[in-house]
Amino acid sequence: MAKDYTLEKRKYVIGGFISVIVIIFLIRLFNLQVSDGTYKENAESNAFFRKVLYPSRGLIYDRNGRLVVLNQPEYDVMLIPKDLGGQFDTLGLCEVLNISKEELMEKWADMKNPRKNPGYSAYTPQKLMSHLSQEDYGRLQEKLYLFPGFYVQKRNVREYATHSAANILGNIREVNAKDVENDRYYRSGDYTGDLGVEKSYEPFLRGVKGVEILMKDALGRIKGKYEDGVHDVIPVAGRDLTLGIDMDLQEYGERLMQGKIGAIVAIEPQTGEILCMVSSPTYDPSLLVGSGRGKNYATLVADKYKPLYDRALQGAYPPGSTFKPTQGLIFLQEGTITPATSYPCYHGYVNGLRVGCHSHGSPIPLKPAIATSCNAYFCWGFKNFVDRRGSTPTAQFEKWKNYMVEMGYGYRLGVDLPSESRGFIPNPEFYSKSFRGRNWSANSIISVSIGQGEVLATPLQIANLAATIANRGWFITPHVVKEVSDTVIDAKYREKRRPSIKKEYYEQIAEGMRMAVTGGTCRLANLPGLEVCGKTGTAQNPHGKDHSAFMGFAPLSNPKIAVAVYVENAGFGATYGVPIGSLIIEKYLNGSIAPERQYLEERMFNSNTIITSGVKKH
């Protein structure tokens, strides 16, 4: 084949192109390496030493300005392996650090193990040992001159001014290889938030690390700042958090829940700020600080009562009768009932099947039905709603599910803490599947109407319902952080969410809940002058004795607090739920407990329901 000789000349263009580039590169190299002395000067037998300056982590305050979480110094033993020249006085170091030779060798091996310490390099600072106490630090600092190549890095760890609220506050831990890979901010050995607000507000709390670039001579001695520190980066302290939590109330709640398994959630209805969120059993947050952290963490994980599990937002429970207000609201909004509609109760709902109820007048309308927690009333309402003429159970139940979701059930509410549970609200497809395609009607799923059966809710969702009723029809997504310094909290914690149910129907429910306190199931909560409204719940469950629940708010008009209490396997709602709930309300609104009610407080402090709980003894 003939060659095209005009095109062949283009080889000179291509060859010329790369030749020119190589010449440019050579000129540049000559410039960098030979004619420009500054680089050589910088590096001549000197080396950079990048000292990380850790910012102080943001502090955490409670709603009354009480400082809850602060920082305390802690010291890490650091070294640059190259500067050691491969040798140091091991025994002397063991003595100063107060550890055995085996421990030291183990730490040395861990430091050099690329799997445990992926950033290992003999030429960069490495951490040999962390969590040095003030005392050990003092001793080491004195003897440091004996160990060239070693130095001490100061770090901040947490200190807690409370023994409570571990589930809300969370703690900090050292980053793992995955964190380092996912976020370029972290280097091996950094701290990051674990659980609670420490985790969910990590980007605010951690601040921005700084770096000091120092020059070092061949013997590892610091010769001063590189170019007078123009390349240094000053650390930016983390932002402080102010929680909506009232720490006094939180501590009080934890005392009330001693010896019990369960949760208390209290919310300020107008703002959605969580006032207290108790999960019991719990642990002291100080357990997860410092050198004891690893051991204590393992103990907590192994504990059969699961103290690390936040029951207030991870526990999904049958809501029991605390669910009934939602049903009344749906029936009113859908026109299934009016406030005047009465249903009969023959010691229960008897219509082909039987759902039991206790003694009270019959027939009764909505408000007394709430006050007496009549099962039959809500079963009838549910039946008439689901089996409405001219519609199908599927269509009706779909509507029902949508109302429930609007009210905050079935999905995560979106609280600003990690690992919230969704609870569970079934949809029609769920039942089509569980009945394997056979027809189903209201009677097949009647227990849903009284908060039993398939529905599950977290104590947070129940408290949120109380807040919604307190506000007569709206709520703000519950959140624990009220303010972040120098910035505003997420818009979603400022917006009102409104279920599509009219305000007047909420008014009816609120009045019904008031009646429950004045003359129904919650009489123990009848605090003079506070106009408490409440609803008990006694939830059957497969683990043993019934769960005791309470949901309420106070006062009736212009409410200041909404609360939900859930005590596992403690019996009737009135036995534990109502006393605990009412004490929380009283404590928050009055600041103290009236003398004639202190017997109740005493009883709650000292009672123990763990013994009747479903947790198996091992």
Binding site: V22, L29, D36, N42, G86, S121, A122, Y123, R184, V233
Partner: protein
């Protein structure tokens, strides 16, 4: 039959291009030694930490030589015959990679096979080169003859590019752009290359230099306008071969420029943007009236080139400022070195320059470099390997490496031109293009002349996939080249 095979094999080694092989061996061994230096750990002997990277790299080199010999032992015709099947197979593997590869820092390009991970995108290079060569070897294929020929070439080039982009390996995808050199050698108009170079230059200058203002224009835009005018005049002179018009245009610009300068110095504010647009439009009108009608095509090309340059410049700023999201702008700014990314590559490049600069004329000596070993970034034995050479071997060593690369590239161009078939020639130019691109971008990045794009330095950077990829590329070329005498027999 047997004796014929032996003959064929001996002839392969007889006609093998030994200069290329020697250059290859020098580069590969120098690479492994540099990797050893880059990851050298002084207390390796006293502790159990044996040096992993260089040891492995020697293993990869050994395997490369085995692969290279195997390639030489095959009949040269199979590379031509199986070009398309190989291409399609590699593409399929790349598709599979997108779905099965683990997410490593956002990119899904590594296929994990037990203890080894390979990067199929690397093997896309020789497959694409074979397919392109095969296309150009089709009977009576002349690139410039039909537009559909361009389309076919583009399809072969851009399928792997798309697949690599889907793996989020932008750097590896950009490598294929270098194949425009091949198209250029095979007849594509030089204006395309020229426009590309102009576009990149204009973009970088206009975006990078915004301070200070000259005549109300950012200095970058001001310079680009001047460059557009200079290019316009040069094209009139060299491309249209019209010295008179070129001179008149230049005089017009300089004259008006002087007036504008004088005005602005005496305190009158002249809107620079409108001055440049006005003067360029005037020049375009003048040229379109005054040009020689018999060479109309070249004038039209020149006019369109100048006009579209102005439009390009004006749209660059608009697109950059108004269409791109702030974080995208930020990334480009970091890449162009406008903003220092302290924790990212900005610091890295600065460290890299210091390391190279500290090497001086003769370097600090083998294993005596301290700067490269202090670096925080893990790329020092891969993408930033050239640092170690610069620091330890100095200007002499790093120039030697650069010159060795230049020699290799020029040698392959020489080999390309002595091929008797378009297949061999196009294939060889593909190898040249890849090498040029990798060399320019990698070294340019390390010495701070190019934005940081993570591609390896051929034969040097640590890693089996890249080394094997370039070995296969090179040895297939050597095999094809060795057969140039066979045919005549």
């Amino acid at each position: 039959m047997e004796s014929k095979n032996i003959d064929a094999n001996t002839s392969v080694f007889r006609w093998l291009d030994w200069p290329t092989i020697i250059l290859y061996l020098i580069l590969v061994v120098a690479g492994a030694v540099s990797i050893y230096a880059a990851s050298y750990d002084f207390d390796r002997a006293s502790m159990f930490d044996f040096n992993e990277f260089s040891g492995k790299q020697f293993l990869w080199i050994g395997l490369s030589l085995v692969i290279g010999c195997a390639i030489l032992l095959f009949d040269y015709r199979i590379y031509e015959t199986y070009a398309y099947p190989v291409y399609i197979c590699v593409l399929l593997i790349m598709v599979v990679t997108i779905f099965v590869a683990p997410d490593i820092k956002g990119s899904r390009s590594w296929l994990v096979l037990g203890p080894v991970s390979i990067q199929p995108a690397e093997f896309g290079k020789f497959a694409t080169a074979l397919a392109l060569a095969k296309l150009f070897n089709s009977y009576n294929f002349v690139l410039n003859q039909k537009i559909s020929n361009y389309c076919r070439a583009f399809i072969i080039i851009f399928i792997p590019v798309a697949l690599i982009l889907l793996q989020h390996e932008t750097g590896s995808a950009l490598v294929y752009i270098s194949l425009f050199f091949v198209l250029y050698r095979e007849g594509m108009s030089g204006l395309v290359l020229f426009s590309a170079i102009c576009a990149i230059t204009y973009f970088v200058v206009a975006v990078k230099y915004v301070e200070p203002l000259l005549l109300g224009l950012p200095v970058g835009e001001f310079v680009v306008f001047c460059m557009i005018i200079a290019v316009f005049s040069c094209m009139l002179l060299f491309y249209c071969k019209d010295a008179i018009i070129s001179r008149n245009v230049l005089i017009g610009f300089l004259g008006s420029g002087l007036i504008v300068t004088a005005l602005s110095l005496s305190g009158v504010s002249v809107p620079g943007l409108w001055y440049f647009i006005g003067i360029i439009v005037a020049a375009l009108i003048y040229v379109s009236i005054a040009m020689y009608r018999h060479q109309i095509e070249r004038y039209v090309v020149t006019l369109i080139f100048a006009a579209s340059s102005v439009v390009f410049l004006l749209s660059v700023n608009y697109v950059f400022g108004n269409v791109l999201e702030p974080h995208q702008q930020m990334r480009i700014k970091v890449a162009l070195g406008i903003v220092d990314d302290i924790r990212g590559f900005g610091y890295n490049v600065n460290q890299s320059k210091i390391a190279i600069g500290s090497g001086g004329m003769t370097g600090k000596g083998f294993l005596n470099g301290t700067q490269t070993k202090l670096k925080y970034v893990p790329e020092q034995h891969t993408d930033f390997i050239f640092c170690t050479i610069g620091e330890e071997e100095g200007f002499l060593g790093s120039s030697a490496v650069l010159l060795a690369f230049l020699a290799l590239i020029l040698r392959i161009i020489h080999i390309a031109e002595r091929q008797r078939t378009p297949f061999g020639r196009v294939y060889a130019y593909c190898v040249v293009s890849y090498l040029i691109f990798h060399l320019c971008i990698n070294i340019g990045m390390v010495i701070g002349l190019c934005p940081v794009i993570g591609i390896p330095l051929p034969f040097f950077s640590y890693g089996g996939s890249a080394l094997w990829s370039f070995t296969i590329l090179l040895f297939i070329l050597l095999r094809i080249d060795a057969s140039r005498k066979e045919r005549r027999d």
